[in-house]
């Protein structure tokens, strides 16, 4: 189903470049993009918990 959808929208020239760049894009996403996102998400989580501690909870019990 997804295949069909992309089949319908893709032929406008994006596909050849997508095909060419598939490996670099995959590697970039898996080994750089997502690890950075994970780290940022955990850092954000840490900050949120810290701010909640300052504002509402007080130090962890």
């Amino acid at each position: 189903m997804n295949n069909q959808a992309s089949g319908r929208t893709a032929p406008s020239g994006a596909e050849p470049s997508g095909r060419k760049n598939e490996w670099p894009r995959f590697l970039l996403l898996a080994f750089v993009g997502l690890p950075i996102t994970m780290t940022l998400a955990i850092a954000a989580y840490g900050f949120v918990v810290w701010f909640l501690q300052i504002l509402f909870f007080g130090p962890p019990s």
Binding site: R19, E22, W23, F26, A30, L34, I42, F47, W50, Q53
Partner: protein, 407 residues
């Protein structure tokens, strides 16, 4: 921006054409394993003593202090490293603490505590922050190594047994009593207790009516004239005075106190027979019959000394009285319970009488970090809440209190 969003959508939603599903999943799996391992390695690296000590603040101030304690070096070869005590061990709290360290990074960059002097001055802030954390989590990090359930109380010294069994019963936080076990305690001698600042500012806003009674919130000098040029003595904190008039910056007050009819009678006390110092006058003034009016004379059966009920009027700086003494006592109470419980459970105020407290307190106060002003307020608090004044403590006569005090 639109392009970026579109390429992101394409990246996630468009199926790959050249790479097989298995390769993609395997690649993602490997990347995930590596990323998580890398994250954990980084967490661990920032949780190492070497990492903490890489800041010279830690290396120059806290390491040498720790090295003198049993947590650094002992006969069993088990030792505590910085993060064992100062970084929470659970994931969420740990991550939050690590993000909180951004404040420490900022402090390092701004040089908030980059010299030993600045560090010592700031130590009380840092210590209180850490004490608060330990009291909230019941000293969880200490108890990773020292837990009540694993203690053999019978092997402790008898004096320790009593304290530790009671603490275990209450599941008390270790740092309640064991402050300063790994680093020096904050230096507070000569420092000002910031709690007094609030008192002084509320005293400044106190409206004063002539003829009414008020209480001193800070010690004050006493003067003979309204220009406040001739000093005749000093009046203690929490002393009750009757305000007679206010002129400019000065206030004329009436003291109604007691003194011993012995020597010069310089020290004036608040109650008959009780050594609760309220004012200390200069020698000539104390002897001056035109200044001091003696209202009554009584002999104290305990000591055989003659006490005089005296009254005098003097000038002092205005803006240092409140209509209630309770705010002063609440500062004293807080200081008493936090300072004394560092080493032992503090006795009830009414466990001793007003004349026993000064000796006891004087012997103990040097073990605490109270500044001089606070120490005076606390002593006065203890005396005025002693068995002589307590109604709930049964027979409140000095005799019976003394006996219960010395088992």
């Amino acid at each position: 921006m639109k392009n970026l969003l579109r390429s992101l959508r394409d990246l996630f939603l468009k199926p790959s054409v050249r790479i097989g599903l298995g390769v993609l999943v395997t690649g993602g799996f490997i990347a995930g394993v590596l990323a998580w391992q890398g994250f954990n390695t980084a967490m661990e690296a920032t949780n190492k003593e070497e990492f903490c000590l890489s800041c010279h603040t830690m290396h120059d101030n806290l390491l040498p202090e720790l090295q003198k304690t049993v947590h650094w070096n002992n006969r069993t070869g088990v030792r505590a490293r910085c993060p064992d005590c100062h970084v929470p061990h659970d994931f969420t709290d740990k991550v939050a603490r690590k993000m909180q360290a951004s404040r420490e990074v900022l402090g390092q960059l701004l040089g908030t505590i980059d010299t030993r002097e600045k560090f010592k001055e700031h130590r009380i802030v840092l210590a209180q922050r850490e004490w608060k954390r330990f009291s909230a989590n019941g000293s969880k990090e200490c108890r990773a190594c020292h837990d009540y359930k694993d203690m053999d109380f019978d092997k402790m010294r008898p004096a320790s047994q009593v304290a530790m069994r009671k603490a275990a019963e209450r599941n008390q936080s270790c740092v309640d009593c064991h402050k300063g076990v790994a680093h020096q305690l904050p230096e507070m001698k000569g420092a000002r207790n910031p709690a007094f600042d609030t008192l002084v500012s509320s005293a400044a806003g106190q409206s004063v009516d002539a003829g009414k009674d008020y209480f001193l919130v800070v010690p004050q000098e006493l003067y003979a004239d309204e220009g406040m040029t001739k000093r005749i003595g000093a009046i203690e904190v929490a002393t009750q005075v009757k305000v007679l008039e206010t002129k400019g910056d000065a206030q004329r007050v009436e003291l109604a106190l007691w003194r011993k009819n012995k020597g010069y009678g310089r020290v004036w006390y608040s109650h008959f027979g009780l050594n609760i110092t309220s004012a200390v006058l200069d020698k000539e003034v104390a002897l001056d019959a035109s200044f001091v009016k003696v209202l009554d004379t009584k002999e104290d059966p305990m000591t055989g000394l003659e006490w005089q009920q005296v009254t005098a009027t003097a000038w002092m700086r205005k803006g240092s009285v409140l209509d209630s003494v309770e705010p002063v006592w609440s500062i004293a109470r807080a200081s008493y319970s936090s300072s004394c419980s560092v080493c032992h459970r503090q006795p009830e105020e009414a466990h001793f009488d007003a004349n026993t407290w000064p000796g006891l307190f004087g012997g103990m106060v040097s073990f605490t970090s109270m500044d001089d002003d606070t120490a005076r307020v606390v002593l006065k608090y203890l005396q005025t809440h002693s068995s002589d004044f307590s109604t709930s403590h049964g027979a409140g006569s000095p005799d019976s209190a003394l006996q219960t005090a010395r088992p």
